[in-house]
Symmetry: C2
Subunit: 115 residues, 2 copies
């Protein structure tokens, strides 16, 4: 492939990239969700919840953080639909929101594994 061909190919890729780019809003939303799971403290919470729902207290013990910090972090995760929760008496039980979150965690682990 000579220089001109190369150049042409790249221009076409650029056009294709621009065409298939998600909207600003969607990119922002996806980025926000990645951001939610991109803090070690919050990612640890997710691994703690991977085995099933836990109350706030137990999450705190699992990740070794105080009640307030955990509560703030859980809120961020919940606002971004990474976790969900239900009340059971005095306690609130948190769990992973859906399969996609677990899928991303798996991918992340695999991505880390192969280096």
């Amino acid at each position: 492939m000579d220089f001109e061909e190369e150049e042409k190919l790249h221009e076409e890729r650029l056009k294709a990239a621009l065409a298939s780019m998600p909207s600003e809003g969607d990119v922002a939303e996806m980025a926000a969700r990645f951001k939610a799971i991109s803090e070690p403290s919050r990612l640890k919470i997710l691994f703690a919840l991977a085995g099933g729902e836990l109350c706030v207290d137990h999450v705190g013990e699992a990740v070794n953080a105080n009640q307030s910090a955990v509560s703030h972090q859980l809120r961020i995760l919940k606002d971004n639909r990474i976790v969900k929760c239900r009340r059971l008496g005095k306690k609130v039980l948190y769990s992973i929101a859906d399969e996609h979150v677990l899928s991303m965690m798996r991918s992340a682990r695999e991505h880390l594994g192969c280096e």
Copy 2:
């Protein structure tokens, strides 16, 4: 399930969570990689690269950012093994590092889709 059974179940889950928790280092590494893709500007770069390798200039056009900003962001992505690059003459061509990254992007899009 009565109160005591519930309590016992939760305690066991907590123990299981603590046991299966990845190491501090691995969590930090995974979080760092999520963080790399959690900025709208960088996520846009990834969508731009999803169709194939592009030079820095074209990435800049695709995401509408200046050369310096793009270069800085590409460095972060490269340091976190999200993208890789190769030199071709004066240009440096960037591309998605591996399948896991695309997988995470797919999961993110699906996760966004189902609400």
